[in-house]
Amino acid sequence: MISKKFKLFGAAVAVSCMALTAGCSGDKANGSGGGDENVSVVLKTLSSPYWKYVEAGAKAAGKKHGVNVNVVGPNAESEVMQQVNMIEDQLSQSPGAIVVAPSQPETVAPSLENAVKSKVPVLLIDSNADFKGKTTFIGTENFTAGQEGGKLLASMLKKGDKVVLIQGALGNPATDERIKGAEEALKKAGMEVVSKQPADSDKTKAMSVMENILEKNEDVKGVFSANDDMALGALRAVKAKNLDVKIIGTDGTEEAVKSILDGGLAGTIAQSPYNMGYKGVENALKAIKGKKVKNRIDSGIDIITKDNAEEKLEFLKKISK
């Protein structure tokens, strides 16, 4: 009986070992660029297309500059403590620099402060965190993204047309800034903003928010949404009523780009997750070599409409491979 039990434990340990070796050998094959420097990249998660683009960008930069790039992330953005643990575990391997996209910016501050103290450059991408000594923050200029969205929408409408703004969760700095930018651009172009409501970056919520708005204002001509999912939700509400409303989203997800090609959304202001990853690693390398890095780097935006949607879709498919 006992010996049987031991065989079992042996088997369990053996299985773990096999998984361990399989796991790490597999990762080394695609993670390394073959250089001497190591850059650790800890993302919010690796399990959504957006973060796959970031990963692809980081690895491409590693390959180009001959740096070993190690990209990790928890199973979900909600695994906040797991992300903190991953940062600690990466730091205990003394990387040349660490690039982090924090899920909850406050939570990573203590461990990243320690990294700075032990002279490891810390670069933030996508979401900024407030602590002393970070090298830079690389992300979208959300206000500019919103402005471009507003201008694009205005260019599709006539002066005096009624427009709607759909916000993310109130207090989310990224989506709030986008809405501010769009509102400014739309008002400047002489549009009338009849409604501005939050839908918490959620597709279903955006659909009901839009339904309610249309109850009161059937003559709405345009919508700017702080992300693509909400834009797609609003689109459903509009389609159900068979109205012709121009809808602009933000993010540039594959679903949104496909919708543009199918004549659904009018356009989207694409963020550049690929650039965030790429520039993150590139500037990490600069910091390792002691070169100066700007403390705020714009990762850039792309304006996607029917004209260039096909191209964008191909790019997204290529980098997510």
Partner: protein
């Protein structure tokens, strides 16, 4: 069977400690040692002082939740609410100390008090409202607590806690994290509580056979309320440590932590049928999970792979438990 167990826990049947029994008792420990050996071979970063202290720190939150979870499991129950109770405890501590600027000691009392309060509520649901199984009552509490945690600040995190509150999760004594010293202290107290006090023995007895326990005059309801209150208290304490580690409270804190806590208890050799399980087994269970996660991170194994491996370890550990039970029955 429950009698055998009760006796074993009391330490009265020392002569039964044959080599076979020792081996069976120390199976989780042997698993942990093997794991450490394997990881040391695979990664030269694993067995460094810095990394071992990382593991000690990373395991502390789950260790505290797991020791709380051990009590309901010993009574053949479960507490699914600990992750959410952790969240509501730290959010209310944040509101009192950061938003209202109260004394940090009051904040700590609020944190532990809210945790215990929700635990007590679980006990009442089970014993007074007679909900059929703690799976249901604590599932309800899990959602209630998480919901309130989200409502309090409209899902916004709270950051910037006073040093007193951060102390336990953040500071070190020499190279040793205070949180790990706390874990050891708590485990010693639990060991004494479960083996040397009457209530502790009742907990094992109820798990072994609740009817027999009732008939022998044990106030089962009272013991169960104590069990769930302590589980809630530990959730609050784990929250306190977590806030210290990350200097912030957020409503999604502790999401699905109940599962890691249950896994630690089960890997540590406790039985879902109640009456079987030890404090030190639970600690080893929590350490196995932390060592696995840390080691896999050092080896750059993806998070998805890690889930798969931990799942396999749980199944293997429980199968060993099943074999042990079969053996006991044959006797």
């Amino acid at each position: 069977m429950s009698e055998i167990v009760v006796q074993k826990e009391n330490g009265t049947v020392k002569k039964n400690l044959t080599i076979k029994n020792i081996l069976s008792k120390f199976a989780p420990l042997i698993g942990l040692v093997l794991l450490v050996v394997v990881l040391t071979v695979l990664s030269d970063r694993f067995l460094t002082v810095n990394n071992v202290m990382n593991i000690a720190r990373q395991s502390s939150i789950n260790s505290l939740l797991a020791i709380g979870m051990l009590l309901p499991i010993l009574t053949a129950g479960i507490d699914l609410s600990v992750g959410s109770v952790l969240a509501i405890s730290v959010m209310l501590m944040g509101v009192t100390t950061v938003n209202m600027g109260s004394n940090p000691f009051i904040g700590i009392l609020v944190c532990l008090g809210v945790g215990s309060g929700f635990g007590w509520f679980n006990g009442i649901l089970l014993t007074k409202l007679r909900l059929p199984h703690p799976f249901i009552s604590t599932l309800g509490t899990m959602n209630i607590a998480r919901g309130i945690a989200l409502i309090i600040t409209a899902a916004a995190p709270i950051a910037g806690f006073p040093y007193m509150i951060q102390f336990m999760g953040r500071e070190f004594v020499g190279p040793i994290p205070v949180s790990f010293i706390l874990v050891i202290a708590v485990y010693v107290i639990f060991h004494i509580f479960l083996t040397r006090t009457q209530t502790g023995r009742y907990i094992y007895a109820i798990g072994g056979n609740p009817e027999a326990a009732r008939l022998s005059g044990i106030n089962v309801d009272r013991v169960l309320i104590i069990v769930y209150t302590i589980s809630g208290l530990m959730a609050g304490l784990a929250g306190l440590v977590m806030v210290g580690r990350v200097n912030s409270a957020f409503p999604l804190a502790g999401l699905s932590y109940e599962l890691d806590a249950i896994a630690a208890v089960i890997i540590g050799g406790a039985s879902f049928l109640g009456g079987v399980g030890t404090v030190w087994g639970t600690l080893i269970g929590a350490l196995i999970i932390a060592v696995l996660r840390n080691g896999l991170n050092l080896l750059n194994v993806s998070a998805d792979f890690q889930m798969t491996i931990i799942g396999a370890v749980i199944i293997a550990a429980v199968y060993v438990d099943v074999l042990r039970q079969r053996k006991n029955k044959k006797k």
